[in-house]
């Protein structure tokens, strides 16, 4: 049985379509393709076609546990899917406010395949049910706020007039839960004052009642328009409940010279575009589940046409809880740090190990160190391949997406021999990319960065900064490591640096000759402070911690993506939408390691 089934008895035509749906599952993946690949999932191979819009999906697939903010976002995705819609949860518990999972399974490829098999049965038998209930969650509701058409910074809960110009404020909808998204002077939201927003679904109105109609102020407007729209009144407008626009000076009637509305008057307060034309700008969210962008990243672009006029980026992964408050056992500290970042768990594990070993004054053997190098470089390869797959998706380059993802899966747990056997595949991938037409013109000059101390890892090395924690590591220098760099600093350079690093990592694994994941050294009851740098696939991460009697009491973590996140605004400004997204994508941000 499916919670999100359609209402109706399963008979006749419905039986046929239910069978068809069971065969043709379309999935929307949460948190995203990058995480799925990193977890070793190949969803398309398991028989579900992935889609970009929730409207086209029949299954919401959640891979792994996610933060409350991401759950809210996932619930919105779920609410926007067309029924019958199912929820497949892999390796996670309750995901409130999402409804209970229709199928749960473990987070692995066999688990996925098994879950999908169960889903097919569930669809064939339960795509239609006589009784279904609405899906509802607090953030799906609407709060109406009032804003001045000429001064958007004026936002308040009650109708009235603008304190700046005296114009009548217009109602506008906002999500019930993003109360603090408008930090303005005139802004005084109280949860208690929104009681109106909850008397929402009056299903008596027929199937099209709208949940923002509880306002006397604009009641007549929205009602009449909704119904006109339903009646197919040709060329008639469905309602925006803007009330009636009393535009003060813009009110124009039938009176002589004043009749013409002066475009200069009307547009003088609008934002100016780069070519001097006054335009309206809109804020459009991209993410946290946007195909081609790192999952968990919420990028909000202010769009002037299809040009980015401004942007804000933040992560919704809420990975901020390092042990500040309570002391942690070394092993659980290591586990916490490596679980934090599903895209590069080993790098963080080694970071924690090294910092603790330094604090405790433990020397590790060369064998252990080389084993770590091998494992870290393998992770770099899988991470770069994962980025290539995501980047391929972003560029609409299907071949790259599939090829890189397939290689990533092969590298995940490969041993030295298997990795050496995969070397020709990497070579042919690189060669193919070098020959691909349009790839250069798509990337050259996009997202150009200048030298800057905030840059880390491949992003820094693409600008010509020789910033690599491995350069100072004796184990690496003994293996003949030399940092790679390019100097054009654009998306193409970042692509090239990462491709070069694939080769380099292969060579390093070859030189190290071993891949071993040693258990963390036993630090006993050591006390002391220590720090470590590890070159994660995204750049150097820095951890400083103090031990007290064998427990980790304080820890400070600095990660590359945290630095890179601040670049998004300058990279996207005045770029076309496609270029802006590509520029953000080329940074290889990991929202999981961003600490805000």
């Amino acid at each position: 049985m499916i919670v999100g089934a359609r209402q109706g008895k399963l008979s006749g035509l419905r039986q046929l379509v239910a069978k068809a749906m069971a065969r043709e599952l379309t999935g929307f993946l949460v948190p995203g393709l990058d995480i799925a690949h990193a977890q070793g999932l190949d969803v398309e191979a398991a028989g579900v076609r992935l889609v970009a819009s929730p409207r086209h999906a029949s299954v919401l697939m959640v891979a792994g546990d996610i933060s409350p903010a991401l759950r809210n976002a996932a619930a919105i995705i779920y609410a926007q899917m067309a029924r019958p819609r199912a929820l497949l949860v892999l390796g996670a518990g309750g995901l409130s406010p999402l409804p209970s999972a229709d199928v749960t399974s473990e987070l692995s490829q066999p688990g996925l395949i098994d879950g999908i098999a169960q889903l097919r049965i569930a669809f064939a038998e339960g795509a239609f049910r006589p009784e279904v209930t609405d899906f509802d969650a607090p953030m799906l509701h609407v709060r109406v706020e009032y804003t001045c058409p000429m001064h958007p910074e004026v936002v308040q809960d009650e109708p009235g007039s603008c304190p700046k110009c005296g114009m009548t404020l217009e109602p506008r909808e906002a999500s019930a839960n993003d109360v603090d998204s408008h930090p303005h002077e005139t802004h005084d939201h109280h949860h208690e004052s929104h009681d109106h927003q909850h008397e929402v679904h009056n299903h008596d109105h027929g199937s099209h009642s709208h949940h923002h109609e509880a306002h006397d102020h604009d009641d007549h407007e929205s009602h009449s328009h909704q119904h006109e729209a339903e009646d197919h009144q040709a060329m008639d407008h469905s309602g925006m409940n803007h009330g009636d626009m009393d535009h003060g000076s813009m009110d124009h009637g039938d009176h002589g010279d004043h009749a013409f509305m002066s475009m200069i008057d009307v547009t003088k307060d609008l934002p100016r575009s780069s070519d001097g034309l006054p335009m309206d700008w809109i804020d459009v969210p991209f993410g946290p589940f946007f195909p081609g962008l790192p999952s968990g990243l919420l990028l909000t672009l202010t769009l002037d046409g299809d040009t980015v006029a401004g942007s804000s980026a933040r992560t919704l992964t809420e990975n901020v809880a390092l042990p500040h408050h309570s002391a942690l056992e070394p092993l659980s500290f290591v586990a916490r740090l490596s679980n934090m970042e599903p895209l590069a768990p080993l790098a963080y594990r080694f970071l924690a190990n090294q910092a603790m070993e330094n604090a405790a004054g433990i020397e590790i053997t060369t064998v252990t160190a080389r084993g770590r190098v091998g494992a870290l470089e393998r992770e770099r390869i899988t991470s770069h391949l994962g980025w290539l797959a995501l980047f391929g998706q972003q560029m609409g380059f299907g071949w790259l997406l599939r090829r890189a993802a397939a290689l990533q899966l092969k590298f995940r747990h490969a041993n030295e021999q298997a990795i050496m056997a995969l070397k020709p595949d990497i070579e042919s991938l690189i060669k193919r990319l070098r020959r691909t037409p349009l790839l250069k013109s798509r990337n050259a000059g996009i997202g150009r960065l200048v030298q800057d101390n905030a840059l880390r890892g491949p992003v820094a090395r693409a600008v010509g900064i020789d910033n690599d924690a491995r350069s100072t590591d004796p184990v690496y220098t003994a293996l003949g490591f030399k940092a790679i760099s390019r100097d054009s600093g654009d998306s193409l350079a970042r692509l090239q640096v990462r491709l070069d690093e694939l080769r380099q990592s292969l060579a390093l694994i070859d030189a190290a000759g071993t891949i071993e994941l040693f258990e963390p050294a036993n630090i006993g009851l050591a006390t002391g402070a220590g720090e470590a740098f590890v070159e994660t696939p995204r750049g150097a991460a820095h951890l400083r911690l103090t031990l007290e009697k064998g427990l980790v009491v304080t820890a400070q973590l600095e990660t590359p993506s945290t630095h890179h996140l601040t670049l998004t605004d300058s990279l996207t400004k005045q770029q076309s939408l496609g270029d802006a997204l590509l520029a953000v994508g080329s940074l290889d941000l990991s929202p999981w390691e961003i600490r805000q």
Partner: protein, 174 residues
């Protein structure tokens, strides 16, 4: 006879459709609807031409107006306030003057249509392939000068458009 009446029926049908879409242009608040209503009004006129067996002219009209009006749509959405018509702003002004002008123009056009001597009714129409060919020969022959003048007119239009398009950018740069 039955054929003629079907022809008349469709010509009038598309004529009325053209008029109706034309009315919608001014009756809607949305710039986009306004633009596309004009588009379909022109399409209906194209269909009328086809109904009158002027196939080349009709198809050309249907093709060209679709692109031209779509481009008009983007300019309307770029430059008009509230292009979605969400505020239900009244887009008309100087109503009395426009109504009078409109009525006078209508009467004048009807008068021209009714009182002009259009000559005898054509007995038959050349087939449409022949029409295209005749048109081509006309362009290459008697109307060559007109044709080349059209080229110059288009050049003027392009230069004017260029000037208009680059002006705000230049002004902004200063």
């Amino acid at each position: 006879m039955a054929m003629i009446s079907a022809q008349t029926f469709f010509i009038s049908f598309f004529g009325l459709a053209a008029v109706w879409f034309g009315v919608v242009v001014f009756r809607t608040h949305s710039m986009m609807r306004s633009a596309l209503a004009l588009l379909f009004s022109q399409t209906a006129i194209g269909a009328m031409f086809i109904g009158m067996q002027a196939e080349f002219l009709g198809v050309l009209q249907i093709m060209m107006m679709a692109t031209e009006m779509s481009i008009m749509a983007i300019f309307m959405v770029m430059f008009m306030m509230d292009p979605g018509g969400l505020g239900k702003m009244d887009m008309t002004h100087q109503k009395r003057l426009s109504v009078i002008t409109g009525l006078v123009a209508f009467v004048a056009i009807v008068a021209v249509a009714v009182f002009t001597d259009w000559g005898p009714l054509a007995g038959s129409v050349p087939d449409s392939a022949q029409q295209t060919e005749d048109l081509g020969l006309e362009l290459m022959g008697r109307s060559m000068l007109i044709f080349e003048t059209a080229g110059l007119t288009l050049l003027t239009a392009m230069i004017a458009a260029t000037a208009v398009a680059v002006e705000p950018i230049k002004r902004n740069r200063d």
